[in-house]
């Protein structure tokens, strides 16, 4: 496999984490335009852990996920009372606050004679864990996809458990779920924190794949795309967001001949698809049909 194909495969895996984080919120009935913030928190946290303090990537990932969950919970505490469009706007505003915060952070340490760390709008260079650990791109892609498979298995397990039914009940009708004895605020807070941790996991891996991050990497474009992946792929199963990412990257790669116009074409295709299938390709109806046919 050539380097470019391997890069595309790794990017599909990396995008899938942030798409799954948006999916988790969607099935809980919340629309977030702010998942890129927690992706960014994960990238900066893990990048700092390995490049500035010499910690290993697994430790950096754990720190990133903890901080991503904490940041998401911090945003959720004052905003969970909001519903629908108001919650979506609040998450977008919070994500912009995080992006501006990344622009304001100037914290560099002298590591082996070189200044390493976040340098505001100049970005954070020198996240060289892959190079210094001798991890080849194919092995890193393997790490990304192994973690993605583990996350998907966790989703399948949770979705077939009582917790999964509780989350979907919240997404369908929170008032009814509350009347049935579900602690709506507590479960939602947990879902938001888990989605933050998931996005941060993707961000941590992204920082090490890219070796360089900057605040612009975590702007609204990534938030819109992550939401679009979940909506295109479908809300019936956790495989939906993965399908959404595969379609997006696949269409974008296949339409390179259109140059800068390919995003316009892609946007049009997304709009048509969502008119045809508002809950995505792998929605609940398709899942029921597949289960009935193959069980």
């Amino acid at each position: 496999m050539d380097e470019y194909a391997l890069g595309v495969l790794t990017n599909i895996g990396l995008f899938s984490f942030v798409a799954l984080s948006a999916y988790l919120l969607l099935i809980a009935g919340e629309l977030s335009f702010g998942q890129q913030a927690f992706f960014g928190v994960g990238a900066y946290a893990a990048g700092s852990a390995t490049a500035m303090f010499g910690l290993s990537l697994p430790v950096g990932v754990v720190i990133a996920m903890a901080l991503g969950a904490a940041a998401a919970a911090l945003v959720a505490l004052p905003t969970l009372r909001l519903r629908g469009l108001y919650f979506a706007m609040a998450t977008l505003a919070a994500a912009e606050m995080f992006r501006i915060l990344f622009e304001l952070i100037h914290w560099q340490l002298d590591v082996e004679g070189e200044l390493v760390g976040p340098d505001g709008t100049q970005g954070f260079r020198g996240i060289r864990w892959m190079l210094e650990s001798g991890v080849e791109p194919i092995r890193f892609a393997g790490i990304v996809w192994l973690l993605l498979v583990l996350v998907l298995l966790a989703f399948v397990y949770i979705e077939n458990s009582k917790l999964g039914a509780t989350i979907r009940a919240l997404g369908q009708d929170p008032t009814l779920a509350g009347a049935l004895g579900i602690d709506v605020q507590r479960v939602k807070l947990g879902v938001v924190a888990a989605s933050g941790a998931l996005a941060a996991l993707g961000g941590a891996l992204f920082a090490h794949h890219n070796t360089y991050i900057e605040p612009r990497n975590f702007d609204i474009m990534l938030g819109v795309h992550s939401l679009a992946y979940a909506l295109i792929g479908g809300l019936g199963t956790a495989l939906g967001p993965l399908l959404g990412v595969l379609l997006d990257i696949g269409v974008l790669e296949a339409s390179r001949f259109l140059q800068g116009y390919r995003m316009i074409v892609f946007g049009g295709l997304v709009a048509l698809l969502l008119i045809w299938r508002p809950r995505g390709i792998l929605d609940e109806k398709v899942l029921h049909w597949l289960r009935a046919r193959f069980s």
Binding site: N11, L131, T211, N217, D219
Partner: protein, 118 residues
């Protein structure tokens, strides 16, 4: 004595690591075809040109690095020591983060911001 030697080695380690860091300078001009640029890269280490490297050049748009990227191309050696040349086919002009993946005598990844003008 052994302790002093160990301290000396530890003191010299950063210098050795620093010596391995390469720097790059990038200049790109429009080729005459829309969004296609001819780029000249000068790679140095401690102000001395670095020749004999394999240099793979890619580029990402900072606002969507995983989706708006350029298919990486292998740079060919230029006319002077430490010089490499590559042709980049972008989607649009503007600011791009150009990524240089170095292998051979030096293994590193360098990221440079460059504004491509129409």
């Amino acid at each position: 004595m052994a302790k002093s030697a160990l301290l000396l080695i530890l003191a010299l380690l950063p210098c050795a690591a620093l010596a391995q860091r390469a720097k790059a300078d990038l200049r790109c001009t429009p080729s005459g075809t829309d969004f296609v640029y001819d780029c000249t890269i000068q790679i140095t280490r401690e102000s001395k040109p670095l020749s004999g490297l394999t240099v793979v050049v890619g580029a990402d748009m900072p606002s969507m690095p995983m989706a708006h990227s350029v298919k990486p191309v292998k740079a060919s050696p230029g006319k002077t020591p430490g010089e490499y040349r590559a042709r980049l086919e972008l989607e649009m002009p503007g600011e791009w983060a150009v990524k240089l993946r170095l292998s051979g005598p030096v293994r590193d990844v360098l990221v440079l911001h460059y504004t491509f003008r129409p």
